[in-house]
């Protein structure tokens, strides 16, 4: 019995290590945090941001498995929604940028003016899409 528990523990530990390194390697290579740090001119705190990522991931994972009650009610809901929204928004744009989506398309259609409106449209489109998704309960 003890051996079996040990196997479970080893599997859990290894899975956690590999998955987290993978997920956060992705976020690092996508370059989300460097962009945020550059925009706010806080590049000297990059190591602090890494620590915060460790803490955030641990906290999120614990909440996922152990359903901790989180205090703060609606305010906490707004805070979590807002900042996870900013995070996903940045993540998607970093991903699109890393994959050179916008440069490729603007070159394909020989775009000459109005790049800023395209960027704005992407933002608005994401907003409308997100609202529709939650409004019509598309999560299934």
């Amino acid at each position: 019995m003890f051996i079996k528990q040990l196997i479970l523990a080893a599997v859990g530990l290894a899975a956690g290590g590999i998955i987290s390194a993978g997920v956060f390697a992705f976020i690092t290579i996508i370059g989300l945090v460097p962009r945020l740090a550059a925009r706010t001119k806080t590049a000297k705190h990059v190591r602090l941001y890494e620590d915060i990522i460790v803490l955030g991931a641990t906290a999120g994972n614990l909440t996922f498995f152990y359903h901790f009650p989180i205090f703060g009610g609606a305010v906490m809901g707004v805070v979590f929604g807002l900042f996870s929204g900013i995070f996903v928004g940045c993540l998607i744009m970093s991903l699109a940028e890393t994959l050179d989506t916008v440069p490729t398309i603007s070159r394909r259609i020989k775009l000459a003016v109005g790049l800023q409106y395209i960027i704005l449209s992407i933002g608005l489109g994401k907003c409308v899409g997100s609202l529709l998704y939650f409004w019509y309960g598309m999560a299934g």
Binding site: K4, L8, A9, A10, V11, G12, L13, A14, A15, G16, G17, I18, I19, S20, A21, V23, F24, I27, T28, I29, G31, L32, V33, P34, R35, L36, A38, T40, T42, A43, H45, V46, R47, L48, Y49, E50, D51, I52, I53, V54, L55, G56, A57, T58, A59, G60, N61, L62, T63, F64, F65, Y66, V79, F80, F83, S84, F87, V88, C90, L91
Partner: protein, 209 residues
């Protein structure tokens, strides 16, 4: 008149806080003739007229022009960048409160964002279900969802990230820069490259002496 050789090594991006930008501020300058070296160092490349902050892109040719204006016989040897950015930032009183609120803002995004990211991953991959099934497979009894495997997973998770980032808090495992620091430099370099390519050389609000 002197036929000294001047060696110049510029960085790609130089931050300055004074309106009169001299060559000495911008990079390393060496010469066998010390008098020439000092003269060259005090040569003025430009005067900033902009109010707050601005970036100016220069070519090493601008520098050569300025040095040859001093003495056409000087030989200039460039050991560094051929194009560089002078980043003028107004010497401002640093408001600690604003600086820290920015950092807190980014911390909130990274904290909640990583919590969100790992939860979406766990949800997408249906990790809970996988763990219950795996528990069944090994132990032969039904899992209640609060077993050693979830606990170990929760410990392994931070360990994996810490290993990847190569440090936690002040405790580092090696002297390498962290992956995020590497990404930071790559990003800054890309921005500099884009600025240099962008620059039509004819900036407004500056004098090239």
């Amino acid at each position: 008149m002197s036929s000294a050789t001047v060696y110049i090594k510029m960085e790609q991006n130089i931050e300055v806080h004074e309106r009169d930008v001299t060559l000495g501020q911008l990079g390393e300058i060496r010469s066998d003739d010390k008098a020439v070296e000092n003269q060259v160092k005090s040569l003025k490349l430009m005067t900033v007229h902009a109010e707050k902050f601005n970036r100016y892109v220069f070519s090493i040719m601008d520098v050569v022009k300025v040095i040859q204006g001093l003495d056409p016989k000087i030989t200039v040897t460039n050991m560094g960048e051929t194009d560089f950015i002078v980043d003028y930032q107004k010497p401002k009183k640093h408001s600690k409160a604003i600086d820290w609120s920015k950092t807190v803002f980014v911390c909130l995004i990274t904290f909640i964002g990583s919590a969100f990211a790992i939860m979406t991953f766990n949800n997408d991959g249906d990790v809970s279900k996988l763990f219950t099934e795996f528990y069944m497979l090994i132990m032969g009894v039904e899992s209640d969802g609060f077993t050693v495997i979830e606990a170990a997973y929760s410990i392994g998770l931070p360990l994996g990230i810490i290993l990847f980032f190569n440090h936690f808090s002040k405790k580092a495992f090696s002297t390498d820069p962290t992956p995020m620091e590497v990404q930071m430099r790559i990003y800054e370099e890309e921005v500099d490259k884009a600025l240099i390519k962008d620059a039509g050389r004819k900036e407004s609000g500056i004098d090239v002496h």
